[in-house]
């Protein structure tokens, strides 16, 4: 049944491309931040699914945990920075 998991991988990659549209187009800078946040959530799920495909979940879960923490730090830093100045 790895065929099904590969299908899940393709759908997740397609969703990342859809989010990328919002990151490129987004009218305000906050839309871009939101799109990047969505992309990193998808990337975390994608890493776990890749681990299930290659039967090495215990290794890929560690990578995705590190990615989640990195995402938190960067998103909070960008939000705190943008909070202090007037942007459109």
């Amino acid at each position: 049944m790895t065929i099904f998991l590969v299908f899940v991988l393709y759908v997740l990659a397609l969703l990342i491309i859809i989010y990328l549209y919002r990151v490129v187009r987004g009218p305000t800078v906050f839309d871009r931040v939101l799109g990047l946040n969505g992309i990193s959530t998808k990337a975390i799920i994608l890493l776990v699914v890749i681990g299930a495909v290659y039967d090495r979940v215990e290794m890929f879960v560690d990578i995705s945990t590190g990615y989640a923490l990195l995402n938190l730090v960067s998103a909070i830093a960008i939000a705190k920075y943008l909070e202090q100045r007037e942007v459109t």
Binding site: M1, V11, L15, R22, N37, G38, L69, N71, L82, E86
Partner: protein, 99 residues
């Protein structure tokens, strides 16, 4: 792979697709953030639970559930910080100017 795991993963994919559609179609920043923050968490919950059911009776279940708990802790924090920054820097919600 059991039918339960396949069903859970498909339900999770459905929620993720709904979140992506909301991200493209909704009119302004606050509504988009609503779509992403809520629906993404639910989709991740179903998808990762399906993967954990697939890996049943091994230690991988615990590590997948740790990732799931981390996502549930971090997603609302990030959404709240971003929306608060947007509100303080003066972006008006959609429909304010029509009153």
């Amino acid at each position: 792979m059991s039918a339960l795991a396949v069903g859970l993963i498909l339900v999770g994919l459905f929620f993720l697709v709904v979140a992506a559609v909301g991200m493209v179609r909704l009119p302004d920043f606050y509504t988009r953030s609503h779509a992403v923050a809520l629906t993404d968490s639910l989709g991740a919950f179903f998808l990762l639970t399906g993967l954990a059911v697939d890996q049943a009776f091994s230690t991988n279940v615990i590590s997948i559930l740790i990732v799931l708990a981390l996502l549930y802790l971090l997603n609302p924090v990030i959404a709240h910080a971003t929306v608060r920054a947007a509100l303080r820097s003066g972006i008006k919600p959609w429909g304010e100017d029509k009153r």
